[in-house]
Symmetry: C2
Subunit: 161 residues, 2 copies
DNA sequence: ATGTATGCAAACCATTTGCAATGAC
DNA sequence: GTCATTGCAAATGGTTTGCATACAT
C-alpha cells in the first residue's frame, strides 16, 4: 500500500533525525529493525521480533535488538507495555490506531479498547510541572469468556455442596 | 490512629474471606505480610518489603513473599505496577487515595497524580464483554527538573557550536 | 584512522520451582 | 494424620554486559 510506504519513509526520517541529533551511527541493523516493526501491525515481544528478524534476510543479535529498541523507545517510535507478567510487549507508536488495553486478570488475555472520548480527555489534561509525551491506560478485569466460566464453576460448586 | 487499626482489621477480614473461599491456609506469615504492607503508605518493591519484613520481628523467605503477593493481588488488596523498568512496584489497594502515575522518561521518577474527573470518567465507562475490576493510567513525559536540565543542555550546546 | 556498534557468550537479577521439613486443619 | 505452606537453594528466563571484531564516519 502507498500509505505504508509513506509511513515507512516518515519513521525512517524521524529515526535518522534522532540518530543525527544524538550522534549515533546509522547502521543497517537499526533500519532493518525499524522496517520490520513497521511492516507489522500488532503487539510483539522481543522473542517474536528476534525470530522474525532471523527469518527475514537480516540476522541481528539479541544485544542489538535490545540496544535498538531503547533508541526507538527514546524517540517515541515504539511503545512498551508490561501487563503484569514478566514479559514486555511493544507496538509501533507512529501512525498507530490509538487504543487502550483491557487485560483479563484470569486468563491474561489482552484486548485493544478504543475510546475517542477518553483519548481526548486524557490528552487535554494540563499537568503542573510535567510535560506529557504519551500515556498508557490499562483496564484490568474479566473477559467475557472467563466471566462465563467462573459463573459456571460457582454454580457447580453450589450443586456439589 | 483509630482509622488505621480499623483498616487493618477490614483488610485482614477480606483476606480471611478470600483464603476461606479458596481453601487456603491462614498462616501467620500471610497476615504478617499483609499487616506490614498496610502499616506503610507508599509504593514499594519486593526487595524493600523483604528487608522490611526481616527488620520486623517476622522473618519470611522470598518464596513466601512472592506467593503471598500473588494471593493479595488476586483478592485486590494490593496493586502491581511496572513502569518500564524490570522492577515491579506494589501499593496497597484498599482505602488507598486513588491516583494515577506520572513517569519521567528521562530520570524515571514516578509521581502520583490525582484527578477526580479522570477517575470518574474512566470508572463510568461501560465496556462490552468485559467486567472491569481496576485500572492503571500511566502518563509518560518529562518532569520539571529534567525539562529544565534538557533546556539548559540544549542552550549550552548551541553556545559551544 | 577513530571510536561506535555488532555478535557472542557470560553475567545479572527478579522471579519461579523442587523438595524436604513444618505446621494449619 | 494429612497435605498445604514454608524455607532454602537451585533453576529459569528476559535483559544486560564485557570484549574482540566489524564497520560507519
Amino acid at each position: 500500500m502507498d500509505k505504508d510506504i509513506k509511513v515507512r519513509e516518515i519513521v525512517r526520517q524521524k529515526f535518522t533525525d534522532y540518530l543525527n541529533a544524538h550522534k549515533c551511527r546509522k547502521t543497517p541493523e537499526r533500519y532493518a529493525i525499524l522496517d520490520l516493526i513497521y511492516a507489522n501491525q500488532k503487539h510483539f515481544d522481543m522473542d517474536t521480533l528476534y525470530e522474525a528478524m532471523n527469518e527475514s534476510n537480516f540476522r541481528v543479535s539479541r544485544a542489538t535488538l535490545y540496544n535498538t529498541m531503547q533508541l526507538l523507545l527514546k524517540c517515541n517510535l515504539v511503545l512498551k507495555h508490561q501487563f503484569g507478567q514478566n514479559l514486555s510487549f511493544y507496538e509501533r507508536a507512529y501512525n498507530n490506531d490509538f487504543h487502550h488495553h483491557l487485560i483479563c486478570s484470569h486468563c491474561n488475555k489482552v484486548q485493544e479498547y478504543k475510546d475517542a472520548e477518553l483519548k481526548t480527555i486524557i490528552r487535554s489534561k494540563k499537568i503542573t510541572r510535567f510535560t506529557p509525551e504519551h500515556y498508557s491506560l490499562y483496564i484490568y478485569g474479566l473477559c467475557s469468556a472467563c466471566a462465563r466460566e467462573l459463573k459456571k464453576t460457582k454454580k457447580n460448586s453450589k450443586v456439589i455442596k
